[in-house]
């Protein structure tokens, strides 16, 4: 009753496996062009393990994980950027994703004192300061309040910050990966503030995290009452610890640093706090030595994710160019793409949901005959803001602002398909 396969099949399979690893790139195009005199594709003619033997039963992975063949699709860090992994950032692999929703496990992380590991039963949210009644809420209290669901992008103000002085990192994961786009579930901040009763002279709020950095930022009350959420879920499940479990702030369209994670306290006041994160950091140093402050809004921006250095062109003929665009000022109305470094542009096709302060996905279906391409995309939002070139941006802001680099990115595609991050003029 043994179900062991004959040994010659085993050997053959082992041989093919080794050959497949080495020649996968060459086999695929051949198969696609099969015609007269072509060899049969062993992927079709050979019996495969998964086609014969039982696969895993249910519950082998009670919480699903991606296929082992997707093992390279992971967040990555740039170790020289920061002093320690606890106060660091990693990057979303934009080149390996599609659509507009970032999988929760791939949402970039940025912590200032490591990931707080909080028992939700022990978590409290306090609202104090200029309120009628200082209040304390448990997670259970918050889950009993009216809920809302919204899709928003979250971009770190320093996203692309390494590229101010020129092309530096070879991959959109590193140049543009401090962003993700997910659906949040939570309650409006207004609902929470109503429970405490904001006093009329309350103009600013301070949001504070429960992590070891005690992250704190000041937020204008006008924004707080407009569209801010306090979320406990993203993409349909509880927040991941690295994204603020059990509770975080969602500040649509504004820089990620304001989206305080592990949120434990909101204080109302009549002026901003000038916390470290809004003085020493997240202020934009301009060429005259002065700095802009409270530069909350993230301007319209886009990036081509494929092709890009980590996802080069593999085939001549039919190809799909794709990327993402977003604007903190509202809806993305249009995305233009150029293949000759900005001389001629065409409108890309936006596909999928187009929502306020959410990413959109765009495509250009094109034929490639192996010529050199200089690819760029530019986003245009509903306010008429057009994503500027890096040169236009530097003309106003110099190169020392660190934050808010939304300049147009250039990928150079070589005739062999290799794609690299370049600076053009």
């Amino acid at each position: 009753m043994s179900e062991k396969p004959p040994s010659d099949i085993l050997d053959r399979r082992r041989f093919l496996g080794a050959a497949g690893l080495a020649g996968a790139g060459a086999l695929l195009p051949l198969a696609a062009k099969a015609g007269e005199g072509a060899k049969p594709d062993p992927a079709i003619t050979e019996l495969q393990d998964w086609n014969r033997f039982l696969g895993d039963g249910v519950d082998k992975k009670p919480y699903g994980v991606p296929s082992k063949f997707e093992k390279d699709v992971i967040r990555r860090d740039v170790s020289w950027l920061t002093a320690s992994p606890e106060s660091s950032v990693n990057f979303t692999p934009l080149h390996a994703l599609d659509g507009i929703i970032t999988p929760s496990g791939l949402c970039f992380e940025r912590h200032h004192g490591g990931v707080a590991d909080i028992d939700p039963a022990q978590h409290r949210l306090m609202i104090n300061g200029l309120v009628d009644t200082p209040m304390v809420f448990t997670m259970d209290d918050i889950r009993r309040m009216p809920r809302v669901n919204k899709v928003y992008f979250l971009e770190c103000a320093a996203n692309s910050g390494m590229e101010w002085r020129g092309a530096q990192l070879n991959g959109c994961q590193f140049t543009h990966g401090m962003i993700h786009n997910v659906m949040y579930t939570g309650v409006t901040l207004k609902t929470l503030l109503d429970q405490a009763g904001l006093k009329p002279n309350a103009k600013w709020l301070m949001l504070e995290g429960a992590d070891s950095a005690g992250m704190n930022r000041s937020l204008p009350v006008s924004k707080a009452l407009d569209d801010v959420l306090i979320a406990f879920a993203m993409n349909g499940e509880a927040l991941r610890p690295e994204n603020g479990y059990p509770l975080r702030a969602v500040i649509p369209g504004w820089q990620g640093n304001l989206w305080v994670k592990w949120l434990r306290r909101i204080e109302a006041g009549d002026m901003p706090w000038q916390a470290r994160e809004e003085t020493s950091k997240y202020t934009d140093l301009m060429p005259d030595g002065r700095a802009r402050k409270y530069t909350f809004v993230m301007d319209a921006k886009s990036v081509i994710t494929n092709p890009s250095p980590q996802a080069p062109l593999k085939f001549k003929g039919r190809n799909v160019l794709t990327g993402v665009a977003w604007s903190g000022r509202g809806i993305v109305k249009r995305v233009d793409v150029t293949m000759d470094g900005g001389r001629n542009w065409r409108e890309a096709r936006i596909d999928g949901p187009v929502m306020d302060k959410s990413m959109v996905r765009f495509y250009v279906d094109f034929d490639w005959n192996g010529e050199e391409l200089m690819l760029q995309s530019r986003a245009i939002d509903e306010t008429g803001y057009v994503q500027p070139s890096k040169a236009e941006l530097r003309k106003v802001r110099g190169v020392n602002s660190i934050y808010h680099n939304n300049g147009i990115q250039t990928w150079l595609v070589h005739p062999d398909g290799v794609t690299e991050n370049v600076e053009i003029a």
Binding site: M126, M135, G166, T283
Partner: protein, 242 residues
């Protein structure tokens, strides 16, 4: 009885909202607003006060309300001088920030940088950049030492603040004691170096109705390459192209 009355009232409100959106009148009255809303029932009016949560006790507010503002609000009683801060700094901070605040590895530099903000490589330190002295106290007491946050007494936080301000010559006398009454009065060198976000006026040219689509300028040239800088992690071999 009153419950059913309010239920009827709730339905009436829902109906009022729903009708104009589905009816033909809607196109005249409200052409754009809410196609999506029309498919969703209007929510019943929720009371502002939900009866959830509870008042915070004074000792609870006291335990967490430790933030400090530029006007000094939130500063606790206590005092400390730069001289006292020196010893503490060597013991608790120098591993990361260096004995003289010069920074170790990529941990922040805390000294120097004065006058460098227009330089090619500015040093944004407490003395050269931070607009408010209170921020130093707030940050030290909430997040430092790195890995052992909230372990310092108020006196220690005042002393370390004094030491950092002394390092940048903001406080010249090493025996000068910082406390609740005087920290907010310390004038920082770059206090006037900040202005409000003015992008909507200073970058008005980025709002452009007709961006160029055809024959926009001369053929571009490559002037810089990330590969030449060679700082990207895990570079992989190129693909084969068919």
């Amino acid at each position: 009885m009153s419950r059913s009355l309010s239920l009827i009232a709730g339905l009436a409100v829902a109906a009022l909202v729903a009708v104009p959106l589905t009816g033909a009148i809607a196109e005249k009255a409200a052409p754009k607003p809410a196609k999506a809303v029309a498919t969703q029932p209007a929510p019943p009016p929720a009371p502002v006060k939900l009866g959830l949560g509870r008042p915070a006790l004074p000792e609870e507010v006291h335990a967490w309300d430790t933030d400090v503002r530029p006007d000094g609000l939130g500063l606790p009683p206590g005092k400390g001088s730069a001289k006292q801060g020196d010893a503490l700094f060597q013991e608790k901070c120098s591993t990361c920030h260096g004995e003289f605040g010069e920074g170790v590895g990529r941990y922040p530099v805390l000294s120097g940088g004065l006058g460098s903000l227009t330089a090619d490589r500015p040093d944004k330190t407490v003395g050269s950049y931070w607009p408010d002295a209170t921020t130093v106290y707030d940050y030290i007491s909430r997040a430092m030492p790195f890995g052992n946050a909230r372990s310092l007494t108020a006196d220690e936080a005042y002393a370390l603040t004094a030491y950092l301000l002394n390092m940048s010559d903001v406080i010249k006398d090493p025996d000068f004691e910082l406390d609740q009454s005087n920290l907010a009065k310390v004038k920082m060198p770059n206090a006037d170096g900040f202005y409000l976000d003015d992008r909507e006026t200073s970058e008005k040219q980025f709002w452009n109705k007709n961006p160029c689509m055809k024959n926009c300028g001369p053929a571009p040239k490559v002037i810089g390459r990330a590969i030449a800088v060679d700082v990207t992690p895990d570079e992989k071999a190129g693909p084969k192209v068919d």
